[in-house]
């Protein structure tokens, strides 16, 4: 199970990268960029996973009533990648807002979303 999930995450990453490279519509490039970004976030969350072998899945890192921190540390998944992914998702949100605003303005100026026609800069 372990390796198959990572291969799947890399497959999503490659799909996102394909959309960025091969598509000619600005909106589709934006969607591909988002998929690529979230695939890297997914990889980051998967790195923190910890299975307890025969005792089942790793528990979420939330301290329940009556549980000591030592017990939590023994059974919970790694919380540090989750904190990193939260930050990364916020960064992706800011980037999305900027990309969409820029796409709207490009449409106002060029009249099209086709990257073959948004080509005033050459050389």
């Amino acid at each position: 199970m372990g390796t198959a999930i990572y291969i799947l995450a890399f497959a999503v990453l490659l799909i996102g990268l394909y959309a960025v490279v091969a598509k000619k519509n600005v909106i589709k490039i934006i969607v591909g960029l988002l998929v690529f970004d979230y695939a890297v976030n997914l990889l980051l969350v998967l790195v923190g996973y910890r299975s307890l072998g025969s005792e089942g899945w790793g528990k979420p890192p939330i301290l329940a009533e009556g549980q000591t921190p030592a017990q939590l540390a023994a059974t919970a998944v790694d919380p540090l990648p989750q904190a990193m992914v939260l930050t990364s998702i916020v960064i992706g949100l800011g980037l999305t807002a900027l990309m969409v605003a820029m796409a709207i303005r490009i449409y106002e100026r060029y009249g099209t979303f086709d990257t073959n026609q948004i080509r005033k800069l050459r050389g």
Binding site: K24, P60, I62, E65, A97, Y107, G111, F113, D114, N116
Partner: protein, 155 residues
């Protein structure tokens, strides 16, 4: 988009948007004892404003909050967060948790975890104001007339 949507959507939005806002504030304030925190709560609070914009149109939403007020709340939330970081200098270092009697988190208690609660509150204000302001700015674009006809469908 200036007239909004059908009456069903409008009535539902009128009923629900207040609850969404309260839910967002709840998620932000209990960030140190359950999943969530400032950013998630701020996004949900901004989503209630987005719901109003989608259902009623931008002019009605601007009677609730204008982009200018969003900028002010944005700057205030961010500035207060920086102030929390700087006040920590008096307690020993940069960003130190200076509310020491309750600085260790305790399960299920709201007033624990020191400055985490206060930071979550300021981040809630900043993220909600920022996202609402961004969406109001984007909603200001009308469907402009194109220079020459409709664009072709491209892939």
């Amino acid at each position: 988009m200036s007239q909004g949507m059908t009456p069903i959507v409008k009535n539902t939005a009128r009923l629900v948007s207040g609850f969404i806002a309260v839910f967002g504030i709840y998620i932000a304030l209990t960030g140190h004892i359950s999943p969530g925190g400032g950013f998630a709560g701020g996004v949900i609070l901004a989503a209630s404003v987005v719901l109003i914009v989608l259902a009623f149109g931008r002019e009605t939403a601007e009677r609730i909050i204008t982009p200018s007020q969003c900028h002010l709340w944005d700057a205030a939330g961010a500035g207060l967060f920086l102030a929390v970081a700087l006040v920590g200098y008096f307690a020993g270092g940069f960003f130190v948790n200076f509310i020491t009697p309750i600085s260790k988190g305790q399960v299920g208690k709201l007033f624990s975890g020191g400055t985490i609660l206060v930071s979550n509150l300021f981040i809630l204000i900043k993220v909600a104001a920022g996202l609402a302001g961004a969406f109001l700015a984007l909603a200001a674009f009308r469907r402009a007339g194109l220079p020459d006809g409709h664009p072709k469908e491209v892939c």
